[in-house]
């Protein structure tokens, strides 16, 4: 177990280095640098542009720039945002907290709904199964931006039930109730795709499990049908879902751009897009690195969870 962990963590280092190099090259080879937006500004002349680029170190050759970035990253210095002139760590910190709340709550909603729906889809009467199948197909197909706007239009414009966006009531002190009230709509919209996807996945896994020999044995023993499904089939069918969840790690920091935009949620997705438009390299590099770390960590966590969920799997 310990050697497994150590081996996996060591294996992550070259992966992260390669990822950082690829991201660095992609960002820097995109046309127009951070100062391009000033080319149309009558107050900024080409001499100013050269001076600014020099001060940001953008005139160094790529290998030098990359080495400088890597060196300071390793010492824990993530640099200063070109756009906001603030330390990158502080900027990311604010946004990650917002995104974590949104994504975690939506994953929770998705899990709570997707599992019963998946079970229903596999075991209910054929007519009901078809209804569940159609509903989940609809859930997969509906675009998030449309669903978000419709939810806002119905629940916050027509019926003033939910807030029109944001994370909290402006001017009010923090309260859990207020936060949950603001979280409900964006988290539910974000969960829709997951609910639809996971439940379909679970349904097919469950159908496969239910055809296995051990299920026939359980039935022969005279176990109640719900017990067979819940105890024997579901446990096995859930395994692939753990992999799926592990891959969500990147989203915890990557955010959910469309949902965040529609619901004015101050998360990472919006920060990333704004930083891309401004070519704010320090913010982008740090954010992408964090995402890769979390994807790797998520996969590792999924592997570890396998061992718990399925005692047959041994981690070596």
């Amino acid at each position: 177990m310990r050697t497994f962990l150590i081996r996996r963590i060591l294996a992550a280092i070259p992966t992260l280095l390669a990822v950082s190099l690829i991201i660095f090259l992609l960002l820097h080879s995109a046309p127009g640098g951070p100062m391009a937006v000033y080319a149309n500004n009558p107050n900024v002349d080409p001499e100013d542009l050269r001076r600014l680029e020099q001060s940001l170190g953008l005139h160094d050759p790529y290998p030098v720039q990359y080495a400088k970035w890597l060196g300071s990253m390793l010492t824990g210095n993530w640099g200063v945002s070109y756009k906001y002139a603030r330390p990158v760590g502080a900027i990311l910190g604010e946004r990650i907290l917002a995104t974590l709340q949104l994504v975690l709550v939506s994953l929770l909603i998705a899990a709570v709904i997707a599992i019963p729906v998946g079970v229903l889809g596999a075991t209910a009467r054929p007519a009901l199964q078809r209804v569940v199948g159609a509903a989940s197909m609809l859930g997969v197909s509906v675009p998030t931006f449309w669903l978000g706007i419709v939810v806002l239009l119905l629940l916050s414009v027509k019926v003033r039930l939910l807030p029109s966006g944001g994370m909290a009531t402006i001017g009010a002190d923090f309260s859990l109730a207020d936060r949950l009230w603001h979280l409900l709509a964006p988290a539910a919209v974000l969960a829709t795709l997951e609910i639809a996807g996971w439940s379909r996945y679970l349904r097919s896994m469950l159908l496969e499990s239910l055809g296995q020999d051990y299920i026939r044995t359980a039935r022969a023993k005279g176990l109640a049908e719900w017990r067979i499904v819940m105890r024997h089939a579901l446990r096995n069918a859930l395994l692939p879902l753990i992999t799926l969840l592990g891959l969500q790690g990147g989203r915890l920091v990557g955010g959910a751009l469309i949902t965040e935009t529609v619901f004015s949620w101050p998360g990472m997705g919006r920060l990333l897009v704004e930083s891309l438009a401004a070519r704010d390299y320090p913010v982008l590099m740090a954010a992408f690195m964090l995402m890769s770390v979390l994807v790797i960590a998520g996969n590792l966590a999924a592997d570890l969870t396998y061992g718990v969920a399925d005692p047959r799997i041994r981690l070596e």
Binding site: A36, V37, A39, D45, A85, S156, T261, E274
Partner: protein
């Protein structure tokens, strides 16, 4: 004439939206408004930002020596009068400006405002450790003198004709807060995110990605102002969500409404829509260093081949006005008699024939075996721009010109294509100051203009522009600029398309808003009030 027409237009708009009916009431102090913005500010000081939204917050919080009003005139603010040659504030040679400061004005933290703050602000502009975007003009100042607390004198090495434009947008920095900060730490100092200013509103909080809160400055130098107790500047990144919030009243005001939403917003019962004339033209840049744009006749023909009136009226729903040159009709230097290449396909065809571009079998003209075919670069993302270009493309096809639209990214357009002149034709707006100086767009490339992306070079224009920017006498400048407008219009340097009006949406309870062309929509926010 145009000025009168504009005034009439504005009056009609005002009548239609019911301004005159309600503005008869006396302003009532108190209350708050929530302003919705799709963009978030970065740093709240004009010289270190390229974002209009940042300048908007700066307008509310920072103090300025002078301001620009809704008639594009300078008005005093922290200076007690606008320096001119007549009042002795500007020396005859235009190399010395003296500002008399308003006394008794206090910073938001209670410290007194003095001439030293102004001199300090200038030193920060030129501080090498500070990432000030543009130093154009400021670097011509050789000395800043403060003979007493109430006087600032700027001494120049050469005339900077648009200097007062720059002064009007420069927020003054507090020396008592930033003066002792080491140069290297200045750039990241928290003042630029939480400014202590001299303006009508005091900065209270900024929750990133969510909102900013500004509250009334109780000791603002204008007695009784501002009327509002609070302005909440709310970030709503999705334009449709913002529309919802205008409808529900969660948001009271929004500026720069996108054209495609104007008709929907006009139907909302609780808001009014005000059009603001703009000083920012949209145009087609042409690269004069490559064929066929190195031929004046081709450029003129292309200009004659575009029906601007139809673009403005039909395609863009009347939300824009056709543009014929770099200067808006409301500018004091505007030349109404400069040639206009009106829509005339027969004339366009004739000019192309004269230039040697003959019609061929496939409907596209050719000369010496080369087809009259080129690429228009367009920043991807807005459907409206593609519609405008597709319309132009169709019109040019009728005169035998093959134009292809190429979608590019913002960085590609402004970082590579235009500044390095790696384009044939490009579609965008162009940044302008209210001052009519046109050197940025028309000086020959060797004189280092900032935005002459065409590579246009004309010795007579150079002479006129340099002479005009070497004096502060308005009559001399006006005569030179009128002549320049004549020449560049005949040369068809660029194809100007339209002035994109600003559209402001206000909840009907918000009063006192006055549209100001080409300037910050918050310029008179101290006069806004709510019913």
């Amino acid at each position: 004439m145009m000025r009168i027409a504009l005034a009439v237009l504005l009056a009609c708009l005002a009548l239609a939206s019911g301004v005159t009916r309600t503005s008869a009431q006396a302003p009532k102090p108190g209350g708050q408004i929530v302003h919705g913005s799709v963009q978030e500010p970065d740093r709240i000081w004009g010289p270190v930002t390229g974002l209009t939204v940042s300048s908007e917050i700066g307008q509310l919080v920072n103090g300025h020596l002078i301001e620009i009003d809704d008639k594009l005139d300078y008005v005093p603010s922290l200076a007690t009068e606008v320096p001119t040659i007549e009042n002795g504030g500007v020396s005859k040679d235009g190399l010395r400006y003296t500002f008399k400061l308003r006394r008794g004005v206090k910073w938001h933290d209670g410290q007194p405002f003095a001439a030293a703050d102004v001199a300090f602000t200038h030193s920060v502009l030129l501080n090498p450790a500070m990432d000030v975007r543009g130093r154009v003009g400021w670097n011509k100042i050789t000395k800043v003198e403060t003979p007493d607390d109430g006087t600032v004198i700027f001494q120049f090495s050469g005339v900077d004709a648009p200097f007062l434009d720059r002064v009007a947008t420069l927020g003054i920095l507090p020396k008592h807060i930033l003066g002792s900060v080491p140069a290297a730490d200045l750039k990241t100092h928290k003042w630029f995110r939480a400014p202590v200013g001299l303006g009508p509103f005091v900065f209270k909080e900024w929750v990133p990605g969510s909102h900013l809160v500004l509250v009334k400055n109780p000791s603002y130098w204008k007695p009784g102002r501002p009327y509002l107790d609070r302005i909440v500047y709310k970030i709503v990144p999705d334009a449709n969500a913002l529309l919802n919030q205008l409808e529900t009243g969660d948001v009271d005001t929004r500026v720069r409404l996108v054209n495609e939403q104007i008709e929907t917003v006009q139907k909302l019962p609780n808001v009014r829509v005000v059009a603001t004339p703009s000083v920012t033209p949209w145009l087609l840049w042409m690269n004069h260093t490559v064929a066929p744009f190195n031929d004046k006749k081709v450029r003129q023909a292309l200009a004659h081949g575009v029906d601007k009136e139809r673009i403005a009226k039909t395609l863009l729903g009347g939300h824009v006005t056709p543009a014929w040159g770099l200067l808006p009709p409301m500018s004091w230097a505007y030349n109404p008699s400069a040639p206009k290449q009106a829509f005339d396909q027969a004339k366009a065809k004739g000019l192309l024939d004269e230039a040697g571009w003959k019609m061929t079998g496939d409907g596209v003209r050719a000369k010496d075996g080369k087809r009259l075919s080129f690429e228009i670069a367009n920043i991807a993302g807005e459907q409206e721009r593609v519609q405008v270009l597709s319309f132009i493309q169709q019109q040019w096809k009728q005169i035998g010109v093959d134009a292809r639209i190429r979608a590019v990214d913002v960085g590609q357009m402004w970082g590579r294509m235009l500044p390095q002149r790696q384009f044939e034709m490009a579609y965008s707006y162009t940044g302008r100051l209210p001052d009519p100086d046109m050197s940025s767009h028309y000086l020959s490339p060797e004189l280092k203009p900032t935005t002459n992306f065409a590579g246009y070079a004309n010795p007579e224009v150079d002479k006129l522009l340099l002479a005009a920017s070497a004096t502060v006498e308005r009559d001399k400048r006006k005569a030179a600029y009128q002549r320049v407008q004549q020449i560049v219009a005949d040369d068809a340097v660029y194809i100007f398309l339209y002035w994109l009006n600003g559209t402001t949406v206000l909840n009907k309870r918000v009063q006192g808003y006055k549209p100001a062309p080409g300037y910050n929509e918050f310029w008179n926010a101290d006069e806004w009030w709510v019913q």
